[in-house]
Amino acid sequence: MEIKSLVTIRKKIKELEHQLTEAKDTIEAIRMGQIDALVVNSKEGHRLYTLETADVAYRVFIEKMTEGAVSLNSSGTIIYSNSKFASMVESPLAKVIGSTFVDFIAEDERSTFLNVFSKEWTEDGKREISLRARGTKIPVQLSINSLDLDVETSLNIIITDLTFQKSTQKILKEKNEQLEALNEALARSNDDLQQFASVASHDLQEPLRKIQVFSQFLKDRSFGELSDAAKQYVEKIILSANRMKTLIVDILTYSRLSAEESNFESVRLRSICEEIIEDFDLCISEKKAVIELGDLPSVDANKGQLRQVFNNLISNALKFTTPGVHPLITIQAKKINAAELGLSLPEEERYCRVSIKDNGIGFDERYAASIFSLFEKLNPKSSYEGSGIGLAIAKKIIDKHQGIIIAKSNEGAGSEFNIILPLKQ
């Protein structure tokens, strides 16, 4: 029993060794290209697999490709072309095969092509060139590979139509040129603005100051000699000159804001407000006004500019008061996040909302947006002084701080300005 089984096992090993040799030979034959077809025994019975199967798949793939594909022999004659290439050069496929490839290159680019053509036989590469189509030139990219076959070496070229890319590039270039021209115009207009600022700062202000000086002179030194009517005229000259001075300075401030660089630092809103209240000390006690300051945070800002914003808003609140009512101004702040503002940001940002509320004359809510425009004045000139630039300056500064300023009011029921600023710049 034991001996018999040993003989059986030896026999089995011999059989397996034979099968292994056969399998190795088959693999070697496949590798050497000596096999045309394989018969495989499967559940569905015997099946025939030929190399042709794979070949057909590649042929279909190349035919259906959206790019042109050709093979050239060593003399540059097209020995294979897919139909896409034939349609690119607008010739029947039968006519394309057998033609010289260089004939399809745009005439003025043929010499260039022939110069580099020889190199591609030894070195694969890509280059851009134009094909000659009926009446026009088609920009294409050639992707060139040489392939050594048993019979001869062939050059395989994939031809990609670049018309779309080229037109996109052209549009892009045009847009860039337009942008450059716009930038130049912008730089010029900025220069003009600076020029204007310099004119406004000296050439306009110097004669204006003379009017102020000499009308004041008239008032201080010769008032007694003037008739009552003349006294009134002098007063009017002084008032008008002062108004004009305010206007010029405010316009200058506004125009300089565009050119000025923002230097942000941590600014304590509370100390800014306290400083401003001190500046308005006289006006506050004259009008018996009360200014209440809530808990105000620190924000990253340009201190001088932010001070200007609060100065303008508090000054307005003290200016547009309801006659017979003690002015009450409350300034409060609350930290909020972007979501509470209805903003969804990739990185969570913290903001603060500052509210400056008064019990003054207010304004018609219809004008809530337009009050931030230059020279927009809702009140008759005679009853309230000012240039009408203060809120425009405030808005421009808040814009530069990536913030928002909103005005709310009901006529006769006070107004409220809300400023939303990022805590960090």
């Binding site: 700062s201 000296h202 110097e206 003379k210 102020q212 000086v213 004041q216 002179f217 201080d220 200058l252």
Partner: protein, 131 residues
Amino acid sequence: MRTKKVILVEDDPDDRDLFVIFYSDRKDIDLLPSVRNGIELINYLQNISSEKELPDLIVLDQNMPVMNGKQTLGYLKSNDRFSKIPAVVYSTYADSRLIIECTRLGANMVAVKPIDNDGYQKMMDDFLQVL
């Protein structure tokens, strides 16, 4: 207290007159004849041989032809003999840039030109304080 010799450098005749009108009554200053620009000031200073005769204060208008206030200030502060004389700049319009530049050049003060007597008196009081 010794009266201070003050010289005004100013191209505008009205502004030169205003100095005389507002300051000729002041006992604490001795107003020297004005000059019209930086070059005239330098000539004037160079013709003074005795150090005691040099002015105690130079008031420079900013906006002047030939050599403006800043340029004159720059010259004065780089000159061994004149750099010790206190100098101030006054201008119709003074923005932060002018103030910073003049202070950097060594101006003792920068002022906005006043428009009335009170303003002129206060300006001179301020100037004399920094001497």
